[in-house]
């Protein structure tokens, strides 16, 4: 009970902090927080597949990009459309794509799943470049209107955009967290651990995978849509490129695969490292590559795994007697 109350206090402090953040830290850091929140939701969507079902996708940017393009197209071509319906249409586009692909992709796993998505991701990238009339080719779609909920436009008021983005992304994060607590979330963990046994217990594995796949696409779509609004630009390289598929994988790996909050920590660390290193080198590729190598070789369970090991060590040191009795 005490613990619960303490948790509530922490949550309230956190929310108040975020609410006053723009006032306290100014516009630059406010935008940093928005970027982090977008990539946090995006990385969580990847972790839904990778951490909770064991599916590694090299093409998650498809859904991120579809979210962005959907929203941008809606705002460009539908006069007077509100910002929420526009986001909704972007997310719908991502979900529709996932629904089309799901019958095919849930039948494979492991390496084939990863490669299949690499190929489909590349296809979408090429299509975005070639279908100039719809996507604007290499230039992408830019300068579309960004209406606010209560104001004409959010373009010149990043503070308002911050609140809109944070509420949408916050709700998304909460929904994903909630899902892991439901029976369905438990089944996903079971599939990651031992898909055969899940089958013998009476669950339909491909269907479960399909559901998680579509949900993952949904949240990637949300992230992509907000990202497009944030930059007021959706382009093939910015939203659909192969780098965009790997950024969230890196964050998930840094934070720790499979733990729910790991990816959020990973995003923060990755953004920080990226920011620091990019002062010395222009090459994001180099940064991403080195981080991937280091994480896989030296800390395969990420920072969350590191913390867990440390905590275990401390707690065993503290209560050696109790442990002995149990054993």
């Amino acid at each position: 009970m005490m613990k619960n109350k303490l948790n509530v206090v922490w949550w309230v402090i956190g929310l108040v902090f975020l609410a006053f953040f723009p006032k306290l830290f100014g516009i630059y850091y406010t935008n940093v927080v928005v970027t982090m929140a977008i990539f946090a939701v995006y990385s969580l969507s990847v972790n839904m597949l990778l951490g909770y079902t064991g599916l590694l996708s090299f093409g998650q940017a498809m859904f991120f990009g579809f979210g962005g393009y959907g929203t941008a197209l809606a705002l460009t071509h539908i006069p007077g459309i509100g910002v929420l319906p526009a986001i909704g249409l972007g997310v719908l586009a991502a979900v529709a794509l996932a629904l089309i692909l799901s019958p095919l992709v849930v039948r494979v796993s492991g390496t084939a799943f990863a490669m299949l998505h690499l190929a489909f991701g590349q296809l979408m990238y090429v299509l975005a470049l070639k279908l100039y009339n719809i996507t604007g080719g290499e230039d992408g779609i830019a300068n579309f209107p960004v209406p606010g909920l209560f104001t004409e436009s959010l373009k010149s008021s990043p503070e308002h955009f911050y609140y809109l983005a944070m509420v949408i992304l916050g709700i998304s994060t909460w929904l994903m967290w909630y899902m892991t607590k439901t029976p369905f979330g438990q089944i996903q963990v079971g599939i990651r651990d031992n898909a055969k046994r899940i089958d013998y217990l009476g669950y339909r594995v491909p269907q479960s995978k399909a559901v998680i796949y579509v949900l993952s696409a949904l949240f990637a779509g949300v992230a992509g849509s907000v990202y497009g609004l944030f930059h007021n630009l959706v382009s093939a390289d910015g939203s659909l490129g192969i780098g965009m598929s790997f950024t969230p994988i890196i964050s998930v790996m840094i934070g720790g695969v499979g733990s729910f909050f790991g990816p959020i920590l990973g995003v923060a660390i990755f953004q920080l490292v990226d920011e620091l290193i990019l002062r010395y080198t222009e090459s994001t590729e180099l940064v991403m590559g080195v981080i991937l190598i280091v994480v896989v070789m030296f800390m395969p369970t990420g920072f969350m795994g590191l913390f867990r090991t440390l905590r275990q060590k401390i707690s065993t040191r503290r209560t050696p007697e109790a442990k002995k009795e149990k054993a």
Binding site: Y178, M179, K181, T182, P183, F184, G185, Q186, I187, V189, G190, D193, N194, K196, R197, I198, D199, Y200, L201, G202, Y203, R204, V205, S208, V211
Partner: protein, 248 residues
């Protein structure tokens, strides 16, 4: 009435035939053991019945209904469970979470995305009750990977039974167990399978003769004999083929 029946069940892996037409008959409510030397096709028989493989030919009937080629999840839903010779639990999940997955399936809670599973009182109670029955309540929060061998085997068997199947197939549940562990496991199975039909594959003849109501002897992919334990014990063909070597 026979709860499970196979008719002329055949299976081969490529050119290698393993089952040559098996007519297995399991009566409702009995405990039936399938024995036979290594390579006789016992596990393959289980696998063709429970949907791991589609049999090359022949049919499988459950309560008179043709279930040939049913996928495992479908068999689980109509009331057939199985355990595995090689422990196949969810190693990263706790004993509680392992059993809970079985209980959730039993209660038909599958695609529920709306309520936290912790808040489902009935599920938690049933799971804890099961853990108490199988003497794993003290290890409730231990990951399956950290359980002792005997306990992880108990968990393995209990997961097959926790979905509350009418018919359960246990593949060498006592494999690798010590004498005491085996005795515990036998007692556990007696307790948990009351009123259910059980088919076991087993090498340990003490277990077979103490647990089984009837025995089927499989030999090179064919049924050599079926009958009550004493009939099997006195069957000359069985003695020649199998028991003779073992009981010396």
């Amino acid at each position: 009435m026979n709860i499970l029946e196979t008719k002329d069940l055949k299976h081969s892996f490529g050119p290698l035939a393993v089952l040559f037409g098996v007519d297995l008959q399991i009566e409702e409510g009995e405990r039936h053991a399938v024995i036979g030397p290594n390579g006789a096709g016992k596990t393959t028989l289980f696998n063709t019945i429970t949907g791991t493989y589609h049999p090359t030919s022949g049919r499988v009937f459950f309560k008179g209904k043709d279930i040939t080629g049913y996928k495992p999840y479908k068999l689980a839903r109509i009331g057939i469970g199985r355990s595995f010779q090689i422990t196949s639990t969810f190693t990263n999940l706790t004993a509680f979470q392992n059993i809970r997955l079985a209980i959730l399936s039993k209660d038909g809670v599958r695609f529920n995305l709306l309520r936290p599973v912790e808040k489902m009182k009935k599920i938690t109670e049933e799971t804890d009750e099961m853990l108490k029955r199988i003497n794993l309540y003290d290890d409730r929060n231990t990951p399956a990977a950290s359980l002792s061998y005997g306990k992880s085997r108990a968990l393995e068997i209990s997961m097959a039974l926790a979905t509350n199947p009418e018919l359960v197939l246990l593949d060498e549940f006592a494999a690798g167990m010590s004498k005491e562990e085996t005795a515990d496991a036998v007692a556990l199975i007696r307790k948990l399978t009351e009123g259910k039909t059980v088919v076991i594959i087993e090498h340990d003849m003490d277990v077979v003769f103490s647990l089984a109501d009837r025995i089927t002897v499989l030999h090179y992919g064919k049924i050599l004999a079926t009958g009550k334990p004493e009939e099997i014990r006195n069957n000359q063909a069985v003695k020649d083929a199998y028991l003779g070597d073992l009981e010396v």
